[in-house]
């Protein structure tokens, strides 16, 4: 960020403050986009306090989320798909009725998503899932679910991002690209901040990036290990061998042995090493095993220095979803509540396996967009069954669903708790009112739960 640009920005901001009679600035706003959960945003509102004019401090993606809530053509009432494929506006009560009936009629409904909403809404959703005997899954299933499996298998030595900012002097980004996916991660926590023991900012840190592509993150690295795609497990295993000073083959995953020894030495010589990892390892060949052995590397490093490992969680509250289910059911994702007690086994009770194997007969989606992110075979199954999509936006999922229920934006139009990628809970803030008459996720879920209980009581 150039100095002149920063000056320009601060000038613009002070201009807003000068015409303070017109614009109102809301400070310490939490960004409901990614798992970095930045909590230093400032939002400028018009003089009525109802319209968002600008968003400061946020990355382009975060700012867009706030501004998107202001779209003129935003959907404000539920709509039901008609036989001819057109959409008809219905009331929230009708939407509640359809959703409740669908969940009761289904032998095994899938309730998926939960990552872009507050913990309190997730908690109501859990109760609803338990009452109707649903399979409940969150976006971790196509994201960091494999990390959760690895944590169950071998545990995890972790830390908070505050600790990283203040202490970490060896930072590894493995299979992730924060320059684009978590744009403010490096400036707030991992590379640039001048912390208590990291007074020289990026100069006090060595940055290692492991990625088969030369990403914008990789371009910033001191060491870029451009490994062969799909050989992360072998390379991590080689680092373990190198940490112990044992003999390695000439190359592993396309990386020369000397480079691997150098990286092992770099990590061992630091005062605090941290590994951040993303989809490049959690969803490539081996999945949970890649994370399992990355945790083993972290454990090994703790024989020489302090080391921690942190997943780069995507949705702003996917971590919270795992937390809520963890305390309510004992498992963080892939829950099968169909038989009245919680069962869990990714590969069996995971959304895509359930859909592809025809194990579910209704789909309820809240706070995620499987239409855009699931394999087309799974999306086709959702399109064929009774389905509800609860989402403020029109998405590929809402397009294939039978009922679309728009709701208020959590973190913009209603507050609520969210968990950052390092499992720190942060209360998001309400900035503006939702459009008149619109419900929040939690209100809609509460109404469905009440209706389901009434119907079950009558049956």
């Amino acid at each position: 960020m150039s100095r002149s640009w920063m000056r320009l920005r601060s000038l613009r901001r002070s201009a807003y403050r000068q015409v303070g009679n017109l614009a109102k600035i809301v400070t310490d706003v939490v960004c409901p986009f990614c798992g970095t959960l930045c909590d230093d945003l400032e939002v400028a509102l018009d003089d009525s306090g109802e319209k968002i004019l600008e968003v400061y401090n946020a990355c382009a993606i975060g700012a867009a989320k706030f501004l998107h809530s202001q779209a003129e053509d935003r959907l404000t009432r539920p709509q039901m798909k008609q036989e001819d494929g057109s959409w008809k506006e219905v009331t929230y009560d009708e939407a509640v009725e359809y959703t409740a009936q669908m969940l009761i009629d289904a032998k095994k409904p899938l309730m998926y998503g939960w990552s872009s909403t507050s913990c309190s809404a997730q908690s109501v959703g859990s109760e609803l899932g338990e009452v109707v005997g649903a399979c409940m899954d969150n976006t971790a299933t196509v994201c960091h679910g494999s990390s959760l499996i690895a944590v169950q298998d071998v545990g995890i030595p972790s830390a908070t991002l505050g600790e990283i900012a203040n202490r970490a002097d060896r930072v590894v980004f493995w299979g992730c690209n924060p320059a684009h996916a978590h744009p403010r991660h490096m400036s707030r926590y991992s590379i640039f901040p001048r912390g208590f023991f990291t007074g020289k900012g990026s100069k006090s840190r060595k940055m290692v990036v492991v990625d088969p592509r030369r990403t914008d993150t990789a371009k910033m690295a001191d060491i870029h290990l451009q490994l062969e795609q799909g050989h992360d497990y072998e390379l991590l295993s080689a680092i373990r061998v190198a940490i112990r000073g044992e003999k390695l083959p000439k190359t592993v995953a396309g990386i020369p042995a000397e480079t691997i020894y150098e990286v092992a030495e770099t990590l061992k010589s630091g005062r605090f090493a941290v590994i951040f990892f993303g989809m490049g390892v959690t969803q490539s060949l081996g999945k949970n095993h890649n994370i399992d052995i990355a945790i083993a590397v972290t454990r090994d490093l703790n024989d020489y220095t302090k080391a921690a490992i942190i997943p780069m969680r995507g949705h702003y509250n996917v971590t919270g979803s795992g937390q809520v289910w963890g305390w309510q059911f004992g498992f963080p994702f892939c829950l099968d509540l169909s038989r009245g007690f919680a069962r869990y086994n990714p590969g069996d009770s995971s959304s895509n396996d359930l859909l592809i194997r025809d194990e579910v007969d209704a789909a309820f989606v809240l706070g995620s967009d499987p239409g855009a992110h699931f394999p087309v075979g799974s999306v086709r199954k959702i399109a064929q069954m009774p389905s509800v999509c609860i989402d403020p936006h029109i998405t590929p999922t809402s397009a294939v669903s039978k009922l679309h229920v728009p709701v208020a934006f959590v973190g913009v139009e209603v507050g609520g708790c969210a968990y950052r990628m390092d499992n720190v809970p942060i209360e998001t803030r309400k900035v503006v009112e939702p459009p008149e008459g619109m419900l929040t996720d939690e209100e809609f879920l509460t109404m469905v739960l009440k209706r389901v209980k009434e119907m079950k009581g009558a049956a």
Binding site: I239, R240, V241, K247, G340, G347
Partner: protein
């Protein structure tokens, strides 16, 4: 030995959860009682008799009971789960969890089985004529005890994650295996008569893995030690012995570090 035959009469709309298809559940019950045993389709509890025609009779104990399934049960889960004795013969394909956590008896699957078969098994025999899915003889999520005893024999191929966290017993695969064989293994024997892709013996602590064919990508933590002649499941041959995973923790016995052993056939 009393023999009871189940013939599938209809295909479940979703998948059928039938942990009651097990000699331990059938033993000492009349055919009517057996027909009334529960099966689950999602949250609905139904009767076994809704899906199978039941003939013959069961024995008074599990050990005296043989269950024969005549037909495809590829949408039926949990067959022979947690069985302790007796025999199950499946004349067709079966779904997930065949013989999971079994402690004794014998399962003859004459077709293929899906994932998680023989999960955490402690004893008995699981014979699969066709192919096996992923996680054969592995550990349940978060458990550090995979297969601990007994024998699994697959004539065809097996999927990924064979014998993850395995601590005892023997797994023999006639064909090829997918990635991750014996990951975190702490005992027991895995014999692969075909080829393996990669990640054989990753994070292995102890135990033996034999591969008769090729390994596409070898783990970097395995080091060649010597050639040995031995007889493995009826085949005599010369094997190259590798030890590893060097990066993993290892115990000591009589002052010597004990590694996992990987034998590659010459």
């Amino acid at each position: 030995m009393a023999k009871i035959t189940l013939t599938p009469t209809k295909t479940p709309t979703l998948r059928l959860e039938a942990e009651n298809i097990c000699p331990d559940s059938f033993a000492g019950k009349s055919n009517e009682e057996i027909a009334n045993l529960h099966v689950f389709v999602g949250k609905e509890s139904q009767a076994l008799g809704d899906y199978f025609e039941i003939a013959g009779e069961s024995g008074s104990t599990a050990a005296e009971t043989t269950i024969v399934i005549n037909g495809d049960v590829n949408r039926v889960k949990y067959i022979g789960m947690k069985m302790s004795a007796g025999e199950v013969i499946i004349n067709g394909d079966a779904d997930m969890y065949v013989g999971a956590w079994m402690s004794g008896g014998k399962i003859n699957a004459n077709g293929s089985v899906d994932a998680f078969s023989g999960l955490g098994m402690t004893g008995g025999e699981l014979i699969i004529k066709g192919d096996a899915g992923n996680y054969l003889g592995a550990a349940y999520r978060g458990d550090w005890r995979g297969m601990q005893g007994g024998t699994i024999r697959v004539s065809g191929n097996a999927g990924s994650d064979v014998g993850t966290f395995m601590r005892g017993g023997t797994i023999i695969i006639g064909g090829n295996v997918d990635v991750h064989v014996g990951t975190h293994m702490e005992g027991g024997t895995i014999i692969v008569k075909g080829d393996a892709k990669s990640r054989v013996g990753g994070q292995m602590v102890k135990g033996d893995i034999y591969v008769f064919g090729d390994i596409e990508v070898m783990m970097p933590g395995f080091q060649y030690r010597k050639d040995v002649d031995s007889e493995v499941d009826g085949t005599t041959g010369s094997f190259a012995l590798y030890e590893g995973d060097i990066g993993e923790r290892h115990g000591k016995s009589k002052g010597e570090t004990i590694y996992g052993k990987l034998y590659m056939k010459h």
